[in-house]
């Protein structure tokens, strides 16, 4: 990395492109680094103990080879990729590994991971499938176990104040991310989908304060720079996550502007604040189970199909209105079942809003991206 410290978008781009770099530096300085799977393990607990939480992602540029000996090809390709680069030592700096029963893929990968990739501290977080009150209580208990495990590893207890403070800092981050999302409201948006992705991923591999500073810089920079984007059809992305700008670049060079993404790297981790409850764990449990809106959580069914869809996807109507969306890209990573089951429903729902949906099942590989170009262009022509 260059000596002179870059700021704002340039810094985000750097952090994005060499993802482990900053964490490795911090480790040199004596910090503990924990890797976590998906957006469910409460990073606030880690922050409260001055641990740097790093989100485990895959690598679309790297052909999956080693994972083939451990995870069968029918498994979610994203999970397989994450495990593959894990086996290739991309995450060898972790002091801790937090797996979670998020979806089947994430859960089994995490369970198998700990058999082959050793880290000093391991925790597997169970997450119930419903958002019933008893489920929230249960989840809170599991988080408490997680807290104890981390405390034991670090050799220090988390005071309620420290946890409240961590919640506040992460809430601040959530608010800043939402501010940044607001800058995509104008037409054309002030920040591109690829830039946004770089910022979001950067946030997921640095400590929360650094992230907040970065966000402030980015927001200022984006507000002040001349708007360079071209006017194009406005796209909402729903579904499995996208963690490579090669993909967003492809989309945005095909006549579309990405304005909002309801994915595990987009709005999901940031959209709601954690309520600052008396016992911080109450707010945390409530937040992750009820407010992180991945279809992996079953929400009790509504009295009719329509109402059920409304209950489950009503927020998407808001999103579509707020960002003046022209079309939807439903991104399904091959074998990501929790999203796969939703395809017809999500199509129905958006059709009800008069929005066309492009569904693509993709193989999570940059090598195979180019062939998708025609699909995006044709979609842009459909909605343009």
């Amino acid at each position: 990395m260059s000596g002179a410290k870059s700021t704002g978008l340039a810094r985000a781009a750097e952090l994005y492109s060499v993802r482990g770099q900053r964490a490795r530096e911090l480790k040199q300085e004596g910090k503990k680094i924990f890797g976590y799977f998906c957006c469910y393990p409460p990073i606030e607990i880690m922050t409260a103990l001055d641990i740097v939480p790093v989100r485990i992602l895959g690598n679309m540029d790297e052909p999956i080879t080693i994972a083939d000996g451990y995870l069968p090809p029918v498994m979610c390709v994203f999970c397989r990729s994450a495990f593959d680069i894990g086996m290739k030592k991309s995450y060898d700096y972790f002091d801790g590994f937090v797996g979670a029963h998020a979806c089947d893929g994430a859960e089994r990968t995490a369970l198998i991971w700990t058999n082959y990739i050793k880290t000093p501290c391991n925790f597997h977080l169970d997450i119930p499938h419903t958002a019933h009150n008893s489920a929230v209580d249960f989840f809170k208990q599991q988080i408490a176990y997680f807290q104890q495990a981390v405390e034991k590893f670090i050799g220090q207890k988390i005071s309620p104040e420290a946890l409240k403070d961590a919640v506040a800092r992460h809430n601040r981050q959530r608010a800043l991310v939402r501010d940044l999302y607001d800058l995509r409201k104008p037409d054309p948006p002030l920040i591109s989908g690829s830039e946004m992705l770089q910022v979001l991923i950067a946030l997921m591999c640095i400590p929360v304060e650094e992230g907040n500073v970065l966000l402030e810089e980015v927001i200022q920079e984006v507000r002040e720079r001349p708007n360079v984007q071209a006017k194009k059809s406005r796209l909402l992305i729903w579904g499995s996550l996208i963690d490579n700008t090669a993909f967003t670049d492809l989309i945005e060079s095909s006549g579309l502007n990405i304005v909002v993404e309801d994915t595990a790297i987009g709005t999901r981790p940031f959209w709601h604040d954690i309520e600052e409850t008396q016992d911080p764990l109450d707010g945390i449990a409530e937040h992750y189970l009820k407010e992180v809106l991945c279809p992996r959580t079953f929400r009790d069914s509504g009295p009719s199909y329509q109402e059920d869809s409304e209950m489950r996807f009503g927020y998407l109507k808001e999103f579509a209105k707020y960002w003046k969306v022209d079309g939807v890209f439903a991104n399904i990573i091959r074998n990501c079942d929790v999203h796969g089951y939703e395809v017809p429903v999500i199509k129905d729902y958006f059709a009800g809003l008069g929005l066309p949906v492009l569904v693509i099942e993709q193989d999570y590989s940059t090598a195979a991206l180019e062939t998708l170009r025609t699909r995006f262009q044709a979609f842009a022509e459909t909605i343009g």
């Binding site: 080879t65 083939d68 000996g69 090598a367 991206l369 062939t371």
Partner: protein, 256 residues
Amino acid sequence: MAYIAGLDIGSALSKAVIMRNGTLISSSIRPTEGNFVRAAEHVLADALQKAQLAQTDIERIGACGLGVAFIAHPFTKITEISCQSRGTHSVLPTVRTLIEIGNQSSRVIKVTPKGKVADCLVSDKCAAGSGRILQIIARVLGVSIEDLGPLSAKSTHPAKFTTGCAVFLETEAISRVAEGTAKEDIIAGLHRTLAAKIAAMAHRMGVEEDCAMTGGGAVDSGLVKIMEAEIGKKILAPQEPFITAAIGAALIVAEK
């Protein structure tokens, strides 16, 4: 002791060996060219002629390969996997993992110290990762398969391919040629694409040393090198990588 013949009638090449007491007397290789009947007949005749023997000298025939059904003489059919394993074992006894890159499919075979199959994995539905492209690109570039390795080693910017499909890979490679991409870079790019596919198979099975490569792919030192890098192990190649299965067929049938 009588003579035993081993035949491997593959999709691209037909191979025959004549053996006696476990030693190779003669061998022959010829292109199958889509005519399995003729290829089987001629390749055996060739091998017999080289050994200066007549059909009647052959006590038994062991055979494998896609076109096995077209052999005109009585024979025992043996699975290709067992033949490869046994044949490679006879020439390279220390081999425990065998990577065979044939014309339409690739296989990874684990071999026991006795030359039997300990495990195997076959790419049997999709030809992505097979050796077919090597033959085609060699023809398009007007070089021999043996030259691919040295050329590939010179590449500085291996071409990226957007497909794994054996058929489209061919089309893509040909348009690269037309666009003027350097030969070396095309070949190196192909090698990488192939190696990633095959290495994934090898990893799926677990690679134990020693490793060897046979079939058409083994003739291509460039592919062997990149495979070595991918799996992190040294790869041996038998001197005659094409005839190992035929040798295996002869050895197995001799014991029956």
